[in-house]
Structure formats: C-alpha cells, structure tokens
C-alpha cells in the first residue's frame, strides 16, 4: 500500500542567527490512508515547521535542504508554486489552531467554503450550495442553512473549528493536516472535535497528520505517534506500544511528566487556620447606567469558598466560567460588586484604595503568561525587590532576601541582574513565584500559572509550588482549566460554570464521585482519561 504522505530524511535549515542549525533534521515518517499519525513535541520541536513544509507554506527564511516529501508518490519539495496551489484543498488540506483568525471575519462561512469550490471545481451555483450544506451537516452543525449565512463572530470557537474542518474536507483530500486544532478550545468542545475528526476520517479513509503537544489527545486519536525533540525525531511507533513501552529516555520523560487523573491523597489538618473565606462574592459587569439600559454579565455569582493554611483550593472550569474573575476579585485587582472576602480576621472587599495598599502584601498572584508578567526593561532583581521596598525594606536587605528566594525557586542567585528575555518561560515563571513570595503572602493565587508551559517544565513548576507550600505552610488558590493539574495539586476543588460554583468538595470525592452533571461532563471530556501516563510496562 502506498502511503499518503512519505517524509524522508527531511532537513530544514534555520537562518544563520537562529538558536540551532536546523529547525528539523533528518526526519522520516509516513502517513497511510485512513490513519491518524500524531506529531508530538514541546514548543520549538519543529512540529509546525514540518506541517508548513508539507503544505508548501514555509516562511521565506526557512529552506528545506535535504530529503523529500512525497504526497501519494509526488515529491512536493520539487513541485512548482502553481502545482502546490492546485494540490492544496484538493489533495491536502490544513486546519489551524486559532479558528477565529483562520476565518475571514467579513465573509459569511458559506461564502468562504464556496470560495474553495469555485477555485477548484466547475460546479454551478446550486450544486455548490447543495454540497456545502451537506458538508456542514456532516460536521454536525445544527441548522446548516443558517450557518451558511452566518459570519464567524456569530459562531462559537468549536463551531468555527467545524467550519474549518468542513472547508478543509469538502474536496475530499487524501491528506488532512491538523495543527493543534483543539488547543484553543474548551475541554468539552475539544472532545467533540476530536470525535468528529475521527469519524469523518474513518468514513472517507483520509490520512491525518495531527500535531499536538498533549499526550491525552494522542491517546484518544492517534494510530501511530512520532515524538520530536528539538527538530529530531526520537521515536516513531504504534500509539499503544509507544505509550506503554517507550524506548527513548526523552519519550519516557515526556510521558511521565503528564499529570495523572488519579487525585493524590494528602492528609488534611482539620484544625488548620482558615486563611481566606468568601461570602456571596459576586462580580457583575455592565448593567447599564442611569441614562442607558445595558446587558448585565454576571461573571461571578455568590461564590463561597474557604482555604486553610497549607492547603490548595482549585477552581476549575472552562473559559468564561468566571474562575479568573474570582481570583482577580480576591486579589482586589478588580473590585467585587457584592459579597465579602475575609482574610484571616480582616474584611478585604470593603477596603478603600489607601487601606488596601497597606494590605496588598498579604495576597500575591502569579499570572499565566510568563512572557508578559515581568517588565522587560527591568532586571529580575529589581522586579523581585520592588514589593518589599514599597513596604519600607532597604535595598540591600531586599536584595539579600531576593537571593535567598532565587535559591528557593532553584535559580542562580547571581542572575538577579539579568533581564527577563535572558530566561526561558519556565524560569520566568519561577521568577514570578519568587516575586510573589518576597512579599511573604498569606495567600498565593496561581491564575493558570502552568498552562502556558511545556509539560516537562510544567511538572517542574508544579513540584516547586508543592515544595514551597509544604515549606512555608502557604495557602494557595489554584485556577486551572486542566483537570489533570487540579488532581495533582489541589486539596479541595470548586467547579465553576457560568459564574456559579456548581460543585465544591474534596478532590478525592469530586474526581471519584462527581455529583453535578457539569462536573461529570468535564471529567468525561478530559482527553486520555483512561490512561495512567507514566505507568510503563517493562519492555
């Protein structure tokens, strides 16, 4: 059987000032008809570059210097620009990570799919429309006629990704490349899209090259897996074998870094002091003014939570559930519109701006994006000592403490005078943790603090946070969309849906015996929930 895609000894050169010689080096793999092959790797491993090379969409600065890419026997590296244009959509298609930016916002979805048909076929108007509506029905869009006339902003993220899939598959290509198609989607939507891709691919016998960084997704969808590390293919094999008996040390490390869905058990101290308690915490956006009627958005409604010393409360939920709103209200980065926040004995929600500044040090927050949470123009030392100096500590003493903190977060204390761009994402997140700890807070809030990190780095940062919690007996509020992370980090979990806490309890109960329907849906949608990653069998 001839493979749909045969990549052999592919090397792609980086520009001379790049951080390594090759973006991709001597990579070989095949995709057979009706097969899903996953390319897995951390950021910078070269997985997207391979996809771009196959589609003939490599940026000008990159050049394939060696090897071949054969689509049903035809070498794409030697193909002309016109030939590639003909092949795209008819025999190979691609869907992207961000469905909002991949669709043209000023064209209706129907017209955008129609464009593909008009370019590549000679069908008449009625026939084209019939085919499009049929395709929209196949990607499980309710009311295809209405969707045909809708603009992208009128659809949800998952629906937009369905439009992209419809557009990619309408000419029945033999190869579909999916570049992280579910990364920007919520977990329940992700499960549906994965299901859809599998279903359509099986029905049509399409070969799929699926790019992802998530081993959960791999275990759900892949027939075979290729693991990439810094542009080199370290391992390629059947999914089952690769996940159970990985040969290469890097693969083993990656897989065992995936947090387990089985919640950890940690003894809880029932007499521990309550550090934070909220009563009926609410945040309403909009709602109009005296002169104008407006639509009120209840971002958080009647949230009652409690965190004890040395414990971690996780708030989990999908985007728009209000979990970040709660965190930001508690940190008083935004003002709650109702309810009370008790920090120890003190009421926190009603403090004026002046009073608040004196209490700021008691709650600290670590943000999601490590690239934006440090001022790029200040040394990391200056960033760390800023807070203590605001509270009247001298520069020398603050620096002394910063050095100790750098040591605590396992960074070199001598690198305090360096700038953020000289550190990697994981290191920057450690610096942010050090900055928060410099204030000696009673409560540390981590707002998706590990979500932007690669899985191996994520595992390190999680270990670090756990050590710190243990050492300092810190109370932590952990906001995450990732149930795996929540299972490993939290003692108690609050599940939020549309601004409300729908379930609240110990992590063990919630994971083993969820009572609310939404919690059950979330748990069911978690990719790779049946796998216990890292429990390898002996070869």
């Amino acid at each position: 059987m001839q493979p749909v895609l045969d990549v052999r000894d592919l090397s792609i050169e980086l520009p001379r000032d790049g951080d390594r010689r090759h973006a991709v080096e001597k990579v070989s793999f095949t995709v057979n008809p009706g097969e899903i092959v996953c390319l897995v790797g951390e950021s910078g491993s070269g997985k997207s570059v391979i996809a771009q090379a196959v589609m003939g969409l490599l940026p000008r600065a990159l050049r394939a210097v060696n090897g071949s890419i054969a689509l049903e026997g035809e070498n794409l590296l030697a193909a002309s620009e016109e030939r590639l244009r003909d092949l795209r959509c008819t025999r190979m298609s691609m869907i992207f990570q961000e469905p909002m930016t991949a669709l043209n916002p000023v064209m209706t979805c129907g017209d955008q799919i129609d464009e593909v048909l008009r370019t590549h076929t000679k069908l008449d108007n009625a026939e084209r429309r019939r085919r499009i509506v049929e395709m929209l029905a196949q990607v499980n869009m309710p009311d295809p006629e209405r969707v045909y006339a809708s603009y992208p902003h009128q659809l949800s993220g998952g629906q937009r990704q369905r439009i992209m899939i419809a557009m990619a598959l309408i000419l029945e290509p033999t190869l579909l490349i999916a570049d992280e198609p579910t990364t920007a989607l919520d977990v329940t939507t992700q499960a549906q899209i994965l299901e859809l891709i599998k279903e359509i691919q099986r029905a049509r016998g399409t070969g799929v090259l699926f790019i992802t960084h998530d081993f959960g997704v791999v275990s759900e969808i892949a027939d075979r897996v290729a693991v990439l590390r810094l542009g080199e293919l370290v391992e390629f094999g059947e999914t089952e074998t690769l996940l159970r008996r990985p040969q290469h040390a890097y693969t083993r490390m990656l897989i065992s870094s995936v947090p387990s869905m089985i919640p950890h058990s940690r003894p809880r101290d029932p007499d521990a002091l309550v550090v934070l308690r909220t009563e009926g915490l609410s945040k309403v956006y909009g709602g109009g003014t005296f002169l104008r009627k407006g639509h009120a958005v209840r971002a958080a409604e009647n949230v009652d939570i409690e965190i004890r010393r040395g414990e971690v409360l996780g708030i989990v939920g999908e985007s728009g559930s209000g979990k970040s709103t709660v965190a930001r209200c508690i940190a008083r980065l935004i003002d709650p519109t109702g309810g009370r926040i008790y920090l120890g004995q003190d009421e926190f929600a009603g403090l004026s701006a002046r009073q608040l500044r004196r209490h700021r040090h008691r709650i600290q927050i670590v943000f999601q994006d490590p690239y934006r949470s440090l001022n790029p123009r200040r040394t990391v030392g200056d960033s760390i000592i800023e807070g203590p100096m605001n509270f009247g500590i001298g520069r020398a003493e603050a620096l002394q403490r910063a050095r100790a903190l750098m040591d605590l977060v396992r960074l070199d204390p001598n690198s305090l005078d360096r700038y953020p761009h000289q550190f990697s994402g994981g290191q920057r997140q450690r610096i942010c943790i050090a900055r928060a700890l410099a204030m000696e807070p009673e409560l540390l809030i981590a707002d998706e603090a590990v979500s932007a990190l690669d899985v191996s780095v994520q595992a390190q940062v999680l270990r670090l946070l756990d050590d710190i919690r243990e050492k300092l007996k810190l109370a932590m509020l952990f906001i995450t969309h990732d149930l795996r992370v929540a299972a490993q980090v939290c003692d108690t979990v609050a599940v939020m849906e549309r601004g409300r806490v729908v379930e609240y309890g110990g992590v063990q109960e919630i994971f083993s015996n969820p009572s609310h329907e939404y919690t059950r849906a979330l748990l069911a949608a978690a990719p790779g929930k049946d796998w216990d990653f890292g429990a390898f069998e002996a070869a």
């Binding site: 951080d19 123009r377 000289q422």
Partner: protein, 311 residues
C-alpha cells in the same frame, strides 16, 4: 529522565534568546535612513552652532549701495572692528543689501531652536497629560474632550491671535506651534498606556503595593519612549516648516531677525529677477525637514518594527 536535562534545555533556550536579541544601537546603525538622516541633521546643527566662524558677516547689516547682487560677487568690506577684508557674497545680496549667505547660515539657528524647543515642550507636556489620561479612567473623558478642542484650533489663526496680543517674537511662534501639537502626543501616549496598563506586569506591580505615580513612571512610561522619540522627530520637522510659513506670512519672527521664512518672504517680491533669494533658504529648509523625517522613519523602523508595517 531527571529534571537535570530539562534545566539544561532551559538554559540553552535562555542563552539562545539572549544571543538573538541584538542591541538597539546596532540595529539603528544598520538602518540607512537613520545614518543619512542623523548625519544631515548633525551637519545642520553644527552649522547653526558655529555660524559666526563660517565666513559670515553681520546678517542684519544693511547696505543700500549694494542691493540685489548676483551670487558669487566679491568686494572689500569694513568689519565692525574697522578692519578691511575681502568678502565673497556666495548667495548674493537681498533688496536691502544684506548678505544672503550669512542670513541663511544664521537662519539655521532659529529653525533649530524652534524645532527642538517645540518638540521638547510638546513631548514633555503631552507625555504628562497622556499618562494621566490613559491611566486614570475618570479623568480620561474630560482630558480628551479638551484635547479635541485644542486640535480644532488652526495653528495659523492661533499665531495671528497671539501676535496681535503680545506682538511677534520667538516665544509667540513656539507657543502657537506647541498648542496644536500637544493633543497629538497625548493621543499617542494614551493609546500606549491603555494597552500597557493591561499587561500582567503592571497588575503584578499593583499587587505588590506600588503607588500609582511610581507605576506610571517605572512600568508604563518606558514603553511610551520609542513611539514618542519617533513622534518628536516628526514634530520637530513640522515645527521648522510651520515657523518658516509663519515668518513668510509676516506673523512669525520679526523681519530683521534672519530666519529661512523671513528671507523667503523678503525675496518674494523680486522672485522672477532674483530667484536665488528664495532658492537658497528653500533648499536648506527642504534638506533639513527631509533629513529629520528620514531620521524619524528610520527610528520608527528600528525602535518599533510593528509600526512600520502599518504604513
């Protein structure tokens, strides 16, 4: 695999990131328009500073017997010290017998002073107002409406008004040009502040208790510097042009002071017979404005690469 290898990867990535970031000055040095623009501006500044030593004579000295001479004529003149020297009139004389070459060279002084002062004042004032307007939400509406009002005042009309109030002079001219420029700087600064204030590092500074003025100066103002430097060069160029226009119209600097606008205004009457009266100051004006704009364009491309793609 242990954490050891990840650390190594981390460090390697960090080292690479450090190596990728070339210095801002090196990037500037690579831009042709920065080099050429800066060189020409530098020459103009030098001319303005060393004007008295560039074989010039008193630019205001009238000589009724030696009017409207062609460029290049020579004759013996008496210096204020009583000394007799041979002087070449490189650019001829005007209708009052003044040496145009000396007037053009001295005129560079006024142009440079006006350009730099206007740019400095409007940037300082605009930066201050813009920071406040962008960061303190409840003041924003009020400030921006005032700025819209200022922008609606035509600069030339304002100049006429001010001249009739206080009389013509350098200060009046500078004020008349600064007032309509300030709102442009305010808008620029405000737009940068609005996006930077949402950055997590600003929120982090809030949550470690940094007072608002410090947040503005320490975390937000540095981000506005690159666009402001670029804007300042454009303001400088346009101020030099506007000053020349005002002087040409007779509502700027008094006519006895040599400025490029004054020289051109004076030469306007005899333009068809003696075009050099207008041509020489015109060339200086054009080259200066062009050079400053080139410098600004180049700086924009190197300091703020995103901006260059927008135009």
């Amino acid at each position: 695999m242990t954490a050891q290898t990840d650390e190594q990867v981390d460090i390697a990535a960090a080292a690479a990131a450090a190596a990728r970031k070339p210095g801002i000055f090196r990037r500037m040095g690579r831009s042709q328009s920065v080099i050429i623009g800066a060189a020409l501006v530098g020459v103009m500044l030098l001319i303005a500073i060393v004007a008295p030593w560039l074989d010039t004579i008193d630019p205001a000295q009238i000589d009724p017997t030696y009017r409207n001479r062609k460029p290049g004529v020579e004759r013996m003149i008496t210096l204020p010290g009583g000394e007799q020297v041979r002087h070449v009139y490189w650019m001829g004389t005007d209708s009052l017998g003044r040496d145009i070459y000396s007037r053009v060279i001295y005129g560079a002084r006024i142009s440079m002073v006006v350009g730099v002062t206007v740019a400095a004042i409007s940037v300082i004032v605009g930066l201050f107002i813009g920071l406040i307007s962008g960061y303190i939400r409840w003041l924003d509406g009020v400030i921006m409406r005032v700025m819209d009002g200022l922008m609606a005042i035509p600069g030339i009309l304002l100049a006429i008004g001010l001249v009739s109030l206080w009389g013509a002079g350098l200060f009046t001219v500078i004020l008349a040009i600064v007032v309509p420029e300030i709102p442009r700087v305010v808008r620029l600064v405000r737009s940068v502040v609005l996006s930077v204030r949402e950055e997590p590092y600003v929120e982090a500074a809030i949550s470690v208790g940094t007072p608002t003025p410090l947040i503005l100066v320490r975390h937000i103002m540095p981000q506005t510097m690159a666009p402001i430097i670029v804007q300042a060069t454009f303001i400088c160029a346009s101020a030099i042009l506007v000053e020349a226009i005002l002087s040409f119209l007779g509502i700027g600097i008094p006519p006895e002071t040599p400025t490029w606008g004054n020289i051109m205004a004076e030469g306007r009457v005899l333009f068809r017979i003696h075009p050099h009266n207008i041509m020489y100051p015109g060339v200086f004006l054009a080259v200066t404005v062009l050079a400053i704009n080139m410098l600004g364009d180049g700086l924009r491309d190197t300091l703020d690469p995103r901006m260059s793609k927008r135009i």
